[in-house]
């Protein structure tokens, strides 16, 4: 019985943690893969992986752990896309028939911006859309560094670990990202408060 209670307590702890991060994680994944279904899959995948490791970790380590898992899962997604298309090409060459194989790779979908928040004003909606668009225009690594460091509140060392690059690279990516974003917003006459 004690064991069961303990299990339930930790289950609700995990549930609380996931509830606090799931939406942001989804957005993060969406920026990376530009497809809602894929982003949902990635978040689910990351949640499962976290739940597998959960018991061994103190709760304070969860945010960083989850971020790392999320980034790895996103990276796996890219790798699978590449593998998938290589397989399609090989198998279709191996076919006895001359038909073209069904192309599997999904091209990045055009729009990422979510549907408007009914409580927000139109202006806010537009601002969100603009920010999202400019973020999507950034080179992937710059976007990744920016979001991890500033949005997910990771420090430089943590960001470097999650991205698999040096701390210097993280700083460079962040600085370039911010400059580009600032210039883009200025060009549109947008001021942030």
């Amino acid at each position: 019985m004690i064991q069961k209670d303990f299990a339930l307590a930790s289950a609700s702890e995990l549930a609380d943690f996931l509830a606090s991060v799931e939406r942001k994680a989804f957005k993060q994944a969406l920026f990376a893969v530009r497809n809602e279904d894929d982003a949902l899959d990635i978040v689910q995948d990351a949640m499962f992986k976290l739940s597998d490791k959960y018991r061994a970790k103190p709760v304070t380590e969860l945010p960083l752990l989850f971020q790392r898992i999320l980034q790895n899962t996103i990276r796996d997604h890219y790798r699978r896309q590449k593998v998938r298309s290589a397989w399609t090409t090989l198998l279709s060459a191996f076919s006895s028939d001359d038909e073209d194989a069904d192309p599997l790779e999904s091209l990045p979908t055009a729009s990422v911006s979510g549907l408007g928040n009914p409580q927000a004003s139109l202006e806010q909606d537009q601002l969100i859309a603009i920010i999202e668009r400019e973020l999507n225009r950034l080179p992937p690594r710059q976007r990744e560094a920016f979001l991890l460091r500033y949005w997910q509140d990771m420090d430089i060392a943590e960001t470097a670990a999650a991205m698999g690059c040096s701390e210097g690279s993280v700083k460079t990516h962040c600085s370039r990202a911010t400059h580009t974003l600032a210039a883009a917003l200025k060009a549109r006459g947008v001021e942030l408060s």
Binding site: T89, L90, A93, F94, S95, S96, D97, D98
Partner: protein, 144 residues
């Protein structure tokens, strides 16, 4: 060996292929030796085809000739459907990129290391899932 599909300058298909193995010229017999027991059973067009091959045989490298010799016997015993299917796939792969051809080579050698019972299970699974039922049991896979 490059597969050249350009029309051959000279074809030997107009002559009548000897029906009996013993009637073949000695040099052809040497090349087509693995077929000696099957020769009488081959349709005449297949006999012609093999003689065509024997004509081109000297142009192959030693290594190619060896492989050829090893595989001839099994090949001639396959069903026509099996040979047709193999030729189609071979042609398709030749059109594919060199990376893919290399991939086929490596994947095949990895497959060969699988234990026999697993290969048998795979063949059975394939036979079940094939729509319309592919002919042949794939035993020719042991062809080296």
């Amino acid at each position: 060996m490059l597969l050249a599909l350009a029309p051959a300058a000279v074809t030997a298909t107009s002559f009548i292929a000897p029906a009996k193995w013993a009637d073949l010229p000695a040099d052809k017999q040497k090349i087509l030796a693995p077929l000696s027991s099957e020769w009488a059973n081959l349709e005449s067009w297949r006999k012609k085809k093999w003689l065509e091959i024997a004509d081109r045989y000297p142009k192959m490298t030693r290594q190619e000739q060896e492989r050829f010799q090893q595989r001839m016997r099994t090949w001639v015993r396959l069903t026509p459907e099996e040979r047709k299917a193999a030729r189609e796939k071979y042609r398709n792969i030749q059109k594919a990129s060199s990376e893919q051809r290399e991939a086929v080579k490596q994947l095949w050698s990895e497959y060969e290391t699988l234990p026999d019972d697993e290969k048998q299970r795979l063949r059975e699974a394939a036979a079940k899932s094939a729509p319309g039922g592919a002919s042949g049991t794939g035993k020719a896979g042991q062809n080296r």
